[in-house]
């Protein structure tokens, strides 16, 4: 109750949207929850656009940031500080921030409360397939196979979204989380699955939209010495040999130098 009272407006909105989706549009309760989730995520799309912009900006500065990381390799704290300073100086706005993440939390809690309320006073209608108001997904799974399917989809979607975020060490978590989820209303699992799938799709789109400029900057950082050396050679060559002969000779020399450097590093 204490937690419920400040969230009542949000609960009312969610309940009304769910009612509208089910009553006016005619979706089943389960699909209404899916639609509701999509609406919530659509509202967050502007954030995603911002995120893409800032990631592009980050990639542009990637070589300099790598240098910074190398420089302060030993001192992780100092490394973080310097990185943050670098962001500030170059007007980079890191994509991730805490508030949008936490903002999802009240929505989740409200949805939980709404679904719990519904499950106490079930609305009339078909209750068999993926009925969103079964208070406990374990009970649902034991009575109908769709519960197991839903749980399986949840695990897969959570795994994929974790992988996309490149947090391999956390792969055990979704599996462990199933035991916790088992006591949730089915509708909440539907919400979670939909959000996860959306996150995956969003991540894939973001990846597609990102050109991978990681190799070009490396080349460009190497080109300055290349450009510096050929003119010297060229200056010497033009005095003795005609220019067209000098041009093919210069790159060959550079290539050999590169190989030697590579060998020395190894």
């Amino acid at each position: 109750m204490i937690l419920g009272s400040p969230l009542t407006p949000l609960e009312d909105i969610l309940r009304n949207v769910l009612d509208w989706l089910h009553g006016s549009i005619g979706l089943s309760w389960a699909w209404s929850i899916v639609a509701l989730t999509v609406i919530v995520r659509l509202l967050l799309v502007p954030l995603m656009v911002r995120q893409i912009h800032s990631m592009q900006n980050l990639q542009r500065h990637a070589p300099q940031m790598k240098e910074l990381q190398k420089k302060y390799k030993a001192d992780k704290k100092r490394q973080q500080e310097e990185l943050m300073k670098f962001y500030r100086e170059n007007n980079i706005n890191p994509a991730a921030s805490c508030l949008p993440l936490l903002a999802q939390f009240p929505v989740f809690i409200s949805l939980y409360l709404v679904l719990r309320h519904f499950s106490k006073h079930p609305p009339p209608g078909d209750l068999s397939w993926l009925h969103g108001f079964v208070p406990n997904i374990a009970a649902h799974a034991s009575s109908h196979w769709s519960g197991f399917v839903l749980l399986a989809i949840y695990v897969v979607s959570q795994l994929v979204s974790t992988l996309l975020m490149a947090r391999t060490m956390l792969l055990v978590l979704p599996v462990a989380f199933v035991f916790f989820l088992v006591n949730f209303p089915v509708g909440l699992v539907i919400y979670w699955v939909t959000t996860n799938l959306w996150t995956v799709g969003q991540g894939l789109i973001t990846r597609q939209m990102m050109p991978k400029p990681a190799p070009p900057p490396r080349r460009s950082s190497r080109t300055p010495p290349q450009e510096e050396t050929p003119p010297e050679d060229g200056a010497r060559d033009t005095a003795t040999v005609p220019a067209p002969a000098a041009a093919p000779a210069a790159p060959k020399r550079v290539r050999r130098k590169r190989k030697k450097r590579g060998g020395a590093r190894r």
């Binding site: 954030l47 911002r50 995120q51 973080q80 500080e81 990185l83 943050m84 300073k85 962001y87 500030r88 007007n91 706005n93 890191p94 994509a95 991730a96 921030s97 805490c98 508030l99 949008p100 993440l101 936490l102 999802q104 939390f105 975020m165 947090r167 956390l170 978590l173 989380f177």
Partner: protein, 82 residues
């Protein structure tokens, strides 16, 4: 006795740690500030107690939005309470 007086602060710290070990791990948001928001909250609670620490932590969370610029920001260097 000293520990008893600090009980509210410990409750606040427990909340932050609870977040860290559950939702923090699951959602895994990265913070744009250094130290991260949760670390800031822990520092603020330890230094300024439950009430002022919570206010500082909330203010920091509000600043950690997509339109802010982030940066280095330690709880000890706050200018809200002097």
């Amino acid at each position: 006795m000293r520990y008893a007086l600090r009980a509210p602060t410990y409750a606040g710290l427990a909340v932050v740690y609870a977040y860290r070990w559950t939702l923090g791990v699951l959602w895994g948001g990265r913070c744009k500030y250094h130290p991260t928001c949760s670390q800031y909250a822990l520092d603020a609670l330890r230094h300024y107690g439950l009430v002022r620490g919570s206010i500082l932590a909330c203010w920091r969370l509000l600043r950690c939005n997509p339109w802010s610029r982030g940066g280095v920001d330690y709880a000890e260097k706050q200018r809200l309470f002097r």
